[in-house]
């Protein structure tokens, strides 16, 4: 009766239930009121989700092939690939944005994410002060980005801490946010400030599930801590590793808030996530903003599928 999805997903349970005499009653006949309840339970949330997430997403894809001022529905005219053509061939800013997104991804992949993972590993080993360290590193994760922007402005503005530290006053201060050669790296420091703690937390939870005897065995066999981490812990953490890689990619692609806090929608630091809004506010007549959103979406499909495959491996098979 009412076999759960959990039972379905588990091969062993499936066999036992299949063999039991309960099998013919697999399809329970629901009473009318039960059917109504189930309909509401599933229907209401699904309707809201579809109406505000999937349908708008589909509409954006459609709009990216049109010209529209965004006011009257009758003004929508088909543009074919014009918006995309404009982006790829006539908008150098697009390539600046791509470059910044790539820097973002590489920085996260090579620096922030590994730092979070190593930190988690050390904290999980309960080195001295691990409780304090854990709190310190995830403190930034709970702050609103609006607050984060203000905090880092204190460090980096022309009469801020860093400029004071290197002995510059307002007249010859380093413009950390305004200098195009360095501002993406400055932003990366701020973004990492949050990302490291986030990854650390996710990884810590995974590490708690690793059988401690594995590690002890490795230690007895004479493996160093580094060898244990690389050859025992890392392989055992494969599922979490995949999730973390996916999160790193997705976060790098949709990076937006922190830049929005600091620069608004100006082109102070072009990045794909911001270009979407810049083009909605500015060049009203085209739907270039929608096209940017679709480009962003196409780039995220890969990681999204990887994430779903990891999380639903057993359910789908």
């Amino acid at each position: 009766m009412g076999r759960s999805a959990a039972a379905l997903s588990d091969g062993k349970l499936k066999r036992t239930t299949a063999a039991s005499p309960k099998r013919p009653r697999r399809r329970r006949a629901f009473s009318r009121s039960d059917r109504f309840t189930l309909g509401v339970f599933v229907g209401v949330p699904t309707a809201i989700h579809l109406l505000l997430v999937w349908i708008p997403a589909t509409l954006t894809i459609y709009l990216s092939f049109t010209y529209w001022t965004g006011i009257n529905y009758s003004d929508i005219t088909w543009a074919g690939l014009a918006n995309y053509d404009n982006i790829f061939t006539k908008t150098p800013l697009f390539y600046d944005a791509v470059r910044n997104n790539v820097i973002w991804l590489v920085w996260f992949a090579l620096i922030s994410t590994p730092a979070g993972v190593l930190l988690a590993y050390q904290i999980d080993r309960q080195i001295r002060g691990h409780r304090f360290y854990q709190s310190a590193y995830y403190f930034p994760v709970v702050l609103s980005l609006a607050v984060t922007g203000i905090i880092w402005n204190f460090m980096l503005r022309s009469d801020g801490f860093i400029n004071g530290l290197i002995g510059r006053d307002i007249s010859n201060a380093v413009s950390f946010f305004g200098n195009y050669d360095i501002n993406i790296y400055v932003i990366m420091v701020i973004a990492s400030w949050r990302h490291v703690g986030y990854i650390m937390l996710l990884y810590l939870a995974g590490l708690k599930a690793v059988d401690p005897t594995l590690r002890e065995a490795a230690a007895i066999d004479g493996a160093t801590e580094w060898e244990t981490f690389r050859k025992v812990v890392l392989p055992a953490m494969r599922p979490v590793n995949i999730i973390i890689v996916v999160i790193t990619i997705i976060e790098s692609l949709r990076a937006f808030d922190i830049i929005y806090v600091i620069y608004g929608t100006s082109a102070g630091l072009p990045i794909l996530g911001v270009l979407v809004f810049q083009n909605i506010a500015g060049e009203g007549a085209s739907m270039k903003g929608a096209a940017y959103a679709v480009i962003l979406f196409v780039l995220s499909i890969g990681p999204i599928i990887a994430y779903l495959r990891q999380q639903f491996r057993e359910d789908v098979s």
Partner: protein
């Protein structure tokens, strides 16, 4: 090398590692501490005597000023008006879907879970233009333009629609660990679907619901983006969007802004210190399947 020598060597190494991580931990906290320190000083003093000058006036005056100029009660109420219903509805809807998907075997179960989880991962940029237009059109349809647009309910709904996916995913993973015999005995007793949900499953879901509630509260409270684009009246916006009120037109009193930031961060800091365990487990529930 003997085991003892190796152990001692590791001990030395551990100290070095601990010290290294410790130095970085202080660096990590420094920006927050510096902002906190500055929030107790007048900006005029810093302009006149430099960033590193010793404080002459030191106190809570920036806070009093910020509370006044931010109209704190109004904006905190706005935040509550968005956060509380959004968290409640997210958990309600998430638990309903998770309940049906994990307790009844319909063909669409896995598909539903995929749909919700994937929806949660879509970039917000992808839905923004149509949602904005949809809100205006629904408003025109019911004869009140501000029915969803420029209303806390519009912001609530978009948060619910997005976060529901995460809640569903977390709760359904958790429900899979609850033995199905519990459900079966309820069904044998002839309980209706509603009672099965309300009296059997919901009480068992308390731990993940608590974690999710804490996590969702911080996420939704911290968000400023949706309120900024879906609301046009500044006085209706939540406190995180209202921080902008403290930036002056020509000269910004940064230390006043610092006090404002600390005030806006206070609710999340309380969560951080008081409900830390729930926060952490909420964040990690989703990534590691229960």
């Amino acid at each position: 090398m003997s085991v003892v020598a190796r152990g001692r060597k590791q001990e030395v190494k551990d100290r070095v590692i601990s010290a290294f991580i410790g130095v970085f931990a202080l660096l990590w906290l420094f920006p927050i501490l510096w902002t906190l320190w500055s929030s107790f000083r007048p900006y005029s003093e810093i302009r006149a005597r430099g960033t590193f000058s010793l404080p002459e006036r030191f106190g809570l005056f920036n806070y009093a000023d910020a509370i006044d100029r931010m109209e704190l009660p109004t904006y905190l109420w706005n935040s509550a008006l968005i956060t509380v219903p959004a968290v409640f509805l997210t958990l309600l809807f998430g638990s309903l879907i998770a309940f049906v998907v994990s307790r009844y075997s319909f063909k669409f179960n896995v598909g539903m879970l995929l749909l919700f989880t994937a929806g949660n991962l879509l970039p917000a940029q992808l839905v923004f233009i149509p949602v904005f237009r949809m809100y205006l059109s629904i408003g025109d349809l019911v004869g009140n333009r501000r029915f969803l647009f420029d209303s806390p309910w519009g912001v609530v709904l978009i948060h619910v629609a997005f976060q529901m996916g995460f809640a569903t995913f977390v709760l359904s993973s958790y429900m899979k660990t609850i033995p199905k015999e519990i459900s079966e005995s309820a069904l044998v007793d002839g309980a209706s679907v509603f009672r099965h949900y309300r009296s059997v499953m919901l009480p068992l879901l308390r731990p993940p619901l608590a974690s999710l509630a804490v996590l969702m509260t911080t996420w939704i409270y911290n968000d400023f983006f949706w309120a900024l684009v879906l609301m046009s009246t500044d006085r209706k916006r939540p406190i995180t969007s209202a921080l902008g009120r403290l930036t002056g037109e020509y000269v910004t009193d940064y230390n006043l802004l610092a006090a404002g930031a600390m005030i806006a961060a206070l609710p999340t800091l309380i969560v951080f210190f008081v409900l830390r365990r729930q926060f952490v487990s909420g964040l990690t529930l989703g990534s590691t399947k229960g």
